[in-house]
Amino acid sequence: MDQMSRRFALFILSVAVLCLVVSVGALGLRSIGLLERNVRPILETNALVVTERVRDRIESAVAMGIPYEGLAQVDEYLDRALEGSHGISSIVLASPSGVEMYASGRAQSNQTRTEAEASNSSQQAEPDRLRDRGLQVLPASIQNELLRWLSPEMSATGNRARSSTTGNGVVTLPLLTADGTEFGQIVTRIDQTFVAQQLLDAAADILVMVFVAVVLAVEILLVVMSASISSPLAQVARLLNAVVGKDFRRLEKPAGGASMRRAIRAGNALLEALSTRMADLKARIETGLADAADADRMRTRLRAVGAFVEDGRNKIGTTAHLAGVRGAAFLFVMTEELTRPFLPQFISEVLGSGPAPGFDGMDSTILIAVPISTFMLGAAVVGTLAAGWADRVGRRNGFMIGAALASLGLVITAFAPSLAILILARTVSGVGYALCFLSCQGQAIDQTTTANRTRGMSVFVGGIMAADVCGPAIGGILAEQFGFQLALLVAAGLGLLSILLAMRLLDGRDEAAQSYKSTHFGFEPRIVLECMSQPRFLVAALLAALPAKLLLSGFLFFLVPLLLTDIGATSNEIGRITMLYGASALILMSLFSRLCDRFGLHAFMVSVGALLTGWGLVPLAYGATVSAVAWSVLVLGVAQAMSISAQSALFTILAKREIGTYGPGRVLGIYRMTERAGSVIGPLLAGILSQYWGLAGAAAILGGLSVVTGTGFAAFFLVSGLRSEDDDLKTRGTRGYDVETV
């Protein structure tokens, strides 16, 4: 039945995603068509205006008596005319016979190209061709219908009405003296690649938004479906399965829609009636029948009927389920992820241009890093030390306290008047974030057994990764449209929403009901010392775990937003680029972890991941453009998907003996601790580096650092090797025990 409900959920999800992709995709294509239709005439008009302006200037100079061939500094003049106008590739002044006399810089250096362009200009523009090639697979009638819908001005491929003054993207005007004699001509060419570039950019944006929309829709569907359909269905199934299996002890809490609740209540009532009667029967057997042999016989027969509660009172199960964890995790991670694309910029605005009081002599870039680092610090300290406390207050309470703190921190951040308050607010948010994380992780483990724990954890991690994708993209849009402050308040609002969700979906029972104790994660210096005295463990912690998180927080959370703002990207674009990290993790993480487990590639994957990260960042030293930064983020995402999934498994192999003695939680906790240390150091280090080498330089140096540590790690394990007796552990997948995203 569980299988069936999963298949049912999968079916609904597939249909929903398909509908979404098709409709959003079609809308996107249409908007590209509209964009193209609007951009071309604007470019043509613009080219005409520029050409006329240049023409008027030349004609008036000639009218003053300056000979056409004696005009001074014309190329420079044309260059400047070109500089101020988009979408023009060249302006050429020619003799009446067409011999070139003056030309803008690009036209001079690309003479052959412009010639080729002119001869090709009757051909279709690039995006038209791409789209039409795609449409050719369809029957002709559908092709025409689609084309008409996509670009209403086109009845058939390429039949475009061209402006009469601008034949084929070239504006040509004669140069006339006052009496109308032609003394030359001016030829302006429209930059065809400009249109294509604009359309490609728009297409990329639409693609990204489709992806984000799908991920978001899937998350919402999963939670809603789980709460109203699949989870109640599973309850009914459990009820029926229990009856079939002759287990009449457990009742299910009514959940889902009205009919579903009725069904569950009916089942419950039936079971309760059965239990009461069985208890009655038992009492009668125990008291009413003197014959011991009869009684024994009857007891045996009753046991054969099934398992019943002793006192006739059935225990009601909880509705808490994994999907609830996923929804809660998605929302609380989302609160932070929303702020990613603009937080550094927001902090720098709070700082203003003047020195921050109490922080004299510190460079402003470092000051921007401080609140980001203190968030990490708050999360690290609470994540390491408060696990036991989080267990004691219960999953739901822990989550609600955490979410309230995170939201409070965000509200204070939004109105922070000074850096000191901002630092405090970010620390509070960090503490709240860690509490939410511990509670969700705890419930995910509560809800699963050792057998299905890995899958359970992957449901939880799935929520986090989905938030990594949606958060930055949506946060960027919010910041762009409504400003930083409102985006921060929306994030705080999401935190409050997650409290409501937690009240409904998380386990409200106290400590006794928890199957798992986080105290296993407790911080004990003795165990830290023992693990760290092991060279392999130490090397893996310091050369793999720490640098990986250092790069993530230093580069992605701190440098990327600042760098992109510096280049001139909007919050919108920054959000989409930051999202690439989450997207690659979402797509590749499970693939890499499967590969890693199957072939035992842990150390290899960790080294390759570190080296890839490094080499992805180093090129930024040669100048950062928006696309260069986007590639670096993408490479970082792929590389970290590779190394992060391998790392926790690697540590279970390296510390097999310690895990055997102290349990996996405490030992892996040390690995998490080094990761968190990296997260705290990252922004600060990046801030200090950027003070001396600029933002792009700092990113490249961080990349270099990753190359060095990755090489060191690889060299060490190539020489020392993993312990051979641990081979059996390689495939066991203890990764599921704990996860970390901060």
């Binding site: 200037r57 100079a61 003053m64 300056i66 001074a72 420079e76 003049y77 400047r80």
Partner: protein, 378 residues
């Protein structure tokens, strides 16, 4: 006595000034139709201004007249012209003193020094303590020691300067054509000219341009110089007999030939009375070698054959002077507290007939913003 000015009045005055400046050259034409400021009938009871001028009323005074007209102000003006003879200034100042004006207006460094002297000497020929003085067209009021700085004179006077900063003048030359060498002729007897030459020399050296500056030789004779330090000494016109110890205009063609031999791109015409008086010879000789002249003062390009000029329009300076007169005589502001005024906007002028004659055409960019003079010089 200092009277605080009503902000509304100040605003109206400012608006008039700005509007009049915007109308600019158009108004110059309009003013030509009206009777000259100096020739107007005096009106009883109106404040009396005496103007000591170098060569009669100029475009500056047209600007003053326009300001009075726009603001509907009535003043009685008496003009005393030196007719380009600096030796007459002392006599004119005496005359002015006798007229007992409400304000003395002096045109140029020499006239101003003749009236008020330097602050060091503190021996003004004119009773400045009783009657306020407004000076104009003084290129270097600080270097000429008329005032200590531009913040205020500290004496019962204020004034305006037409000088365009030398850095801007250099940039204006470079905008027209590539410049590696600039020629300059100056009168060593004129302090402001020597100061200007030194400043230009320092600036050109800084940006790697060579300055070929040649002083005009002085007529040989007895060494007892009539000129005192800090006093401009001006020559008469070229045809007059040149006094001994004065710059000799007959040497000019040879000086120009020497400069032409150095392959300069521009001949620089500085604020030099001798050069100004002989500009026709100097600029004309240079043109015969195909060398264009650049000027920082309006006269040499409006009335002469300089090719390029970056100038403070005299008319606008006149408008500024008009507002200063209003502030002193009508608003009762203390002149010593009014800063020495300059204009922040300059006009780039190209004389196209000269460009066409020597084939040195203006770049297209300059045609976008320059004022183009197409006819022959007046």
């Amino acid at each position: 006595m200092l009277r605080l000015c009503d902000p509304r009045v100040a605003f109206a005055r400012w608006c008039t000034l700005m509007l009049a400046m915007l109308c600019g050259a158009g108004s110059v034409q309009a003013q030509d139709q009206m009777p000259n400021l100096c020739e107007r009938q005096h009106v009883d009871g109106a404040p009396h201004i005496v103007m000591v001028l170098w060569r009669g009323p100029t475009t500056v005074e047209q600007g003053v007249q326009a300001y009075f007209g726009n603001r509907d102000l009535t003043f009685n003006v008496t003009c005393l012209s030196a007719n380009r003879d600096s030796s007459r200034f002392a006599q004119l100042v005496e005359q002015a003193k006798e007229l007992e004006p409400d304000l003395l207006y002096t045109w140029g460094t020499s006239a101003t020094l003749a009236a008020v002297g330097t602050y060091e000497e503190d021996a003004a020929a004119f009773p400045t303590s009783q009657t306020p003085v407004l000076f104009t067209m003084v290129s270097y009021p600080v270097q000429s020691k008329i005032v200590r700085d531009f913040d205020g004179s500290g004496r019962n006077m204020t004034g305006s300067s037409h000088t365009v900063p030398l850095v801007s003048q250099l940039k204006a030359m470079q905008a027209y054509r590539d410049v590696t060498r600039i020629g300059m002729i100056f009168n060593p007897r004129e302090d402001n000219s020597v100061l200007n030459m030194r400043e230009l020399g320092a600036l050109t050296e800084e940006i790697g341009i060579e300055l070929v500056a040649i002083p005009v030789p002085l007529k040989e004779g007895p060494t007892d110089s009539p000129g005192e330090p800090g006093t401009d000494v001006e020559a008469g016109s070229g045809e007059e007999e040149v006094a001994e110890g004065q710059p000799d205009p007959s040497a000019l063609p040879e000086l120009i030939a020497r400069i032409a031999a150095q392959d300069v791109q521009f001949l620089y015409i500085g604020p030099d009375n001798f050069v100004g008086t002989n500009q026709e010879t100097i600029i004309g000789e240079a043109l015969s070698y195909g060398i264009p002249s650049f000027t920082g003062t309006e006269l040499e390009i409006l009335d002469g054959d300089a090719l390029v000029g970056l100038v403070t329009p005299y008319y606008n300076l006149g408008l500024l002077n008009g507002s200063l007169i209003e502030r002193i005589l009508l608003d009762g502001e203390a002149p010593e507290a009014i800063p020495i005024s300059t204009l922040a906007r300059f006009t780039y002028i190209v004389r196209m007939n000269v460009a066409l004659r020597i084939g040195v055409f203006p770049p297209l960019d300059i045609l976008e913003f320059a004022r183009i003079l197409e006819g022959e010089a007046e």
